[in-house]
Amino acid sequence: MGVMSWFKYKSPFGLAFAFQRITGIILLFYLILHLCYLTSLQSRELYETLTSITVSRQFIIFDSLLILCGVFHGVNGIRIIIHELGIGHELRRVVLAVSAIIAILGWIIGSYILFMALGD
């Protein structure tokens, strides 16, 4: 299919573009799921049943991946906004490298907070 060509990237920039789209779609699905979750708040029993499954050690890996998606999408998004203002095109490799570092750090910190909250 034509859209597969998005993923035939030629440089780290193309890879970042492909991931921006993938994480965007994942987060869109999560948004819809989240709205369903909020619907469950109408019943204490239903909410607590759902959270007992999803707020658990077994689910932490999914939560951590979600944080990775969110952090990557946000940090890469800021990078794109900077470039769309016309700034930093000459230094785009540096900006990409810095964004990657910030994204990884954000992921580690977010996952750590998540893990600590579970452990209490």
């Binding site: 034509g2 859209v3 789209r21 965007g24 779609i25 987060l27 869109l28 948004l31 819809i32 709205l35 909020l38 619907t39 708040l41 109408q42 204490r44 909410y47 607590e48 959270t51 707020v55 944080i67 969110g70 946000g74 998004g77 800021i78 906004i81 769309e84 977010g110 907070i113 998540l114 909250a117 579970l118 452990g119 209490d120």
Partner: protein
């Protein structure tokens, strides 16, 4: 301004920047300790006016950003561009439904 695309682009950027802060705050508010996700904690936040405003803002920004992003992806395809009017209409409708549903949920507390 030429049409709504420039506005959509500007708001996509603004909502993106706003969300970096809003979502980080939301994450910390709900995950920095274990009991924050208990039914009582969630209920406390949902009935609190300040939180409600925060959640309403987050809902509007996230929904706009997500559906506008999806619209960009669809319009990048041959089929999507051919049916541009329909795509725009469906996306706007879906986004409005999501926003109103979310606001409706918030109002029930």
């Amino acid at each position: 301004m030429r049409g709504f695309e420039p506005l959509a682009w500007v708001f996509q950027a603004i909502s993106g920047i706003a969300m970096v802060f809003l979502i980080t705050t939301h994450f910390l508010l709900t995950h920095s300790s274990h009991d924050l996700l208990s039914y009582d904690s969630v209920l406390y936040r949902m009935t609190n006016m300040e939180y409600k405003i925060f959640y309403a803002l987050l809902l509007i920004f996230v929904t706009f950003h997500a559906f506008n992003g999806l619209r960009a992806i669809i319009l990048d395809t041959e089929g999507g561009m051919r049916k541009k009017g329909a795509v725009n209409a469906v996306i706007v409708t879906a986004a409005l439904i999501a926003i109103f549903y979310g606001l409706y949920l918030l109002s029930k507390f």
